[in-house]
Amino acid sequence: MSTPDCVLDCRGMTTESTAPSTTADEPGPPLLDGVRVVELAEEIAGPFAAKLFADAGAETIKIESPQGDAARKMAPFAEPSPHRETSTTWLAYNTSKRSLVLDLESAAGRRVLHELIAEADVFVTDRTPQQLADLDLVPDDLHARHPQLIIAAVTPFGLVGNAAEWPSTALTRAHASGSAAGVRRNLGANTGAPLMAGANVHEADGGTALALAAWAALIVRDRDGHGQIVDVASTDAMMNMDRVDISIAHNDGGPPARPPTKGGSAFGGRLECSDGHLIAVTPQSHQWAGLIKSMGDPDWAFDDEGKLIDRLELGEEAGEAIEEWAKAHTRDEVFRALQENSAPAGPVLRPSEVMNSEQMQVRGFFDRLDHPVADSSRYPQFAARWNRAARAPRSSAPLLGSSSAAIARTHLTPWTPAQARRAGVIG
């Protein structure tokens, strides 16, 4: 069992300063020590926001239906497969949380949810306005009932607006936001089908945006006691990632001219090495000089007086020479040579190569978490290190309903077994 239920107790926690009596050099408590989060969300965006809080030390109770988060059914699965505890998507986005199963179709289940929200600092949800209304959780009403609460909502098209109830999936959201068109345009190809980026990165964007705004709202709440509604549309968050190019396309009368992105163009690009691809980008003159130096200062790059020729004046031949050079070397050889000469470059790494890179290992970007059903695995951390706040201990995603009994015991209004049954509590 990876979640230490026995040490968690909602009642003892406050949101007041947790300033310890440590010396300046010792790290203080984890970032969100003592903060309470209740999550009613599924799949990627909402759970990612809540995971960012949970991994930072917030006590995070995830409310699940008896069937569990839909992510539990998303392929692929670790062994045993398929199994509601072994979806990699489920495991990845729900670390450090506790799971409470509630039947929200029942009045008793909804009452428990309302009680938990009343005690929380942050309520993370991905439910649409209509779904929230069905649960008697209309954000404005909820804010009026609990003025100290941060209501953090990430929904496909936002809480306001006439698209709020549109049916959508990750695919249609990525295209409705312009994100997929943005990926295609960065290929230097203005024709061809718009293209989603890999993994679930577009969906995760909504989660990061929500975490950022809700965390800022916590500052206000801690200062003057006022909570608020944080309304993030996933599609707005995705759209913002391409705001520069979208603006240029909209305001400046059409798409900007694009230099080719193949190897050897003015600014480098994707190069094919002997063992895979590498990206080199040299927008600045000294970086271009570094690329040429890495190649051993070939004659064609210099004029009769030995001066480096402006790369814009070099034609396709230069590109071909660079491509030929790259092909004769491994990604790592080209990467190190370019970086030694201050030319920005990066090999196109497989995830497995990222995990095995010395850089990531030295920085401790991944830590290994055990799980009672799936094998142990390495999980990425947040992308920053705070030098005076301790990292919170993390745990793997909770088994469905694994904290139900413990939460029932420690809850302000202890439930009888009969009440728990009525509320749909299992586990």
């Binding site: 006439n162 965390w215 800022a216 707005d236 520069v244 305001n251 196109v348």
Partner: protein, 449 residues
């Protein structure tokens, strides 16, 4: 739609104290900014895209951002971009610079000069935070690293966002968005299944910036709770990696790396983007709508119900009884046959109107939009639409609002990006209280270049 004009054309009515200098920010005084970070002052050393966007999000949330710039080392997004190449206009006209530097002040300082360093230290005394995206060690060499700022202000929260972080053997390596994506695993996973991995662009920078902004906000929150400032070492490559956590689990739990799926899905079909005859029906275009003439529509069916609804409202009703497509698994197995049949239909339709019809029938669908078509989309308009800003030496521009709506402390765009050094005098005289003699001395030294 709200309009934010540049203050060079008009003074704040209450700003009578310094009539000779009206910076663009004087239209809305810092204290009137409503965002949750209102009252916080941050020194912004960032340049290019990722760092400035991170700092800008903190500014959109109400903090006062002082961008430190120098003509001796211009933020190159004022001059060129990876995607566009060189920008032909002046340094105050670059559209890409405006997009990631809204709501900021600009002070022009040559940090190699002693006087300029003193200005930074004086600012640091009054500041809550600092953010940079230099290679690790650059600010330290200038005598302006975390330790230096900490000496004058122990509670300062400083975020340093570098390509690969401030520790480890590759800490001195440099990078841009495409290399962050390459080094994180995302590039490898992006693209069509049978094609090479793709080079990613600006969205990667803005994702890295978002992670840096989140780190800074967490630092501020922590300081308010514990009294502790701190140094935050952020890695832009890790910032992309943290957005794809499941891909690392695939390695350990499935024993293999993930695949490139393009617009496809591991289990659902149809799940793709299909070519249309046009973006909109011809009569939907108005004079001001410079939309794309060609169009694409994304359609995803996750269930028999959605599939049946698609068949019913698409004129593809005959496919419903086709044994190849009868179950979800069969549709997925035969998707190579199915997709062209759907495209044969969509290629005679307009994307926006067809998506509306499909959604009304309960089928997840959306026109795949870009540029002006985003601005004209129903979902974007329904959220309040664009914000108009007039950068100092440019035309009126419509920009995207922040990605969040906050009910009590709204995040707002209050000014366009500043001209290079636009607020130097304002910051020195008004914020720091320097007298004219002192400012003249700095100018003579070359500290204000």
């Amino acid at each position: 739609m709200t309009t934010t004009t540049n203050g060079a054309n008009g003074q704040h009515p209450q700003d009578g104290l310094l009539p000779h200098h009206v910076g663009h920010h004087s239209l809305i005084k810092p204290t009137k900014r409503a965002g949750p970070l209102s009252g916080k002052r941050i020194i912004d050393f960032t340049w290019a895209w990722a760092g400035p966007y991170g700092a800008m999000q903190v500014a959109l949330l109400g903090a006062e951002l002082i961008k430190v710039e120098s003509a001796t080392r211009i933020d190159h997004s004022r001059q060129r971009s990876l995607a566009m190449g060189s920008f032909k206009g002046g340094v105050n006209q670059a559209p890409m610079f405006n997009e990631v530097n809204l709501n900021k002040y600009s002070i022009q300082l040559n940090l190699k000069m002693a006087g300029a360093k003193q200005v930074i230290l004086d600012l640091a005394r009054t500041a809550d935070g600092a953010i940079d995206n230099f290679r690790p060690g650059i600010l330290e060499k200038l005598g302006l690293g975390y330790e230096d700022l900490c000496q004058v202000n122990p509670e300062i929260v400083m975020v340093s966002a570098s390509a690969l972080g401030a520790t480890g053997p590759e800490r001195n390596y440099t990078g841009y968005a495409p290399t962050f994506a390459a080094l994180s695993g995302l590039s490898y996973l992006s693209g069509e299944p049978q094609e090479p991995p793709v080079m990613m662009g600006g969205s990667i920078d803005l994702r890295a910036g978002t992670a840096a902004a989140l780190a800074m906000v967490a630092g501020f929150h922590y300081r308010e709770r514990t009294g502790r400032g701190q140094f935050i070492d952020a890695s832009s490559s890790e910032a992309i990696g943290m957005h794809i956590p499941e891909e690392f689990l695939h390695v350990d739990l499935l024993g293999k790396d993930g695949d490139r799926l393009g617009n496809g899905h591991r289990a659902y079909a149809p799940h793709d983007v299909f070519r249309c005859a046009s973006m909109r029906a011809p009569d939907a275009y108005t004079d001001e709508h410079k939309g794309a003439k060609s169009g694409w529509i994304a359609i995803a069916c996750r269930s028999d119900q959605e599939w049946n609804a698609l068949c019913e409202c698409s004129g593809l009703d005959h496919l419903r009884d086709d044994p190849r497509f009868r179950t979800g698994l069969k549709r997925w197995k035969h998707r190579e046959e199915l997709n062209p049949m759907i495209e044969a239909w969509t290629s005679e339709q307009s994307a926006v109107e067809t998506a509306e019809t499909l959604r009304a029938a309960g089928v997840p669908a959306a026109a795949s939009v870009w540029g002006s078509d985003i601005h004209h989309s129903e979902n974007f308009q329904g959220r309040g639409g664009a914000v108009s800003v007039r950068p100092p030496e440019s035309h009126l521009r419509q920009v995207l609002p922040p990605p969040w709506k906050l009910s009590e402390t709204p995040a707002e765009i209050v000014s366009p990006a500043p001209r290079l050094g636009e607020d130097t005098e304002y910051i020195l005289s008004r914020m720091l209280g320097y007298g004219a003699d002192k400012i003249d001395a700095l100018a003579r030294e070359g500290a204000l270049e």
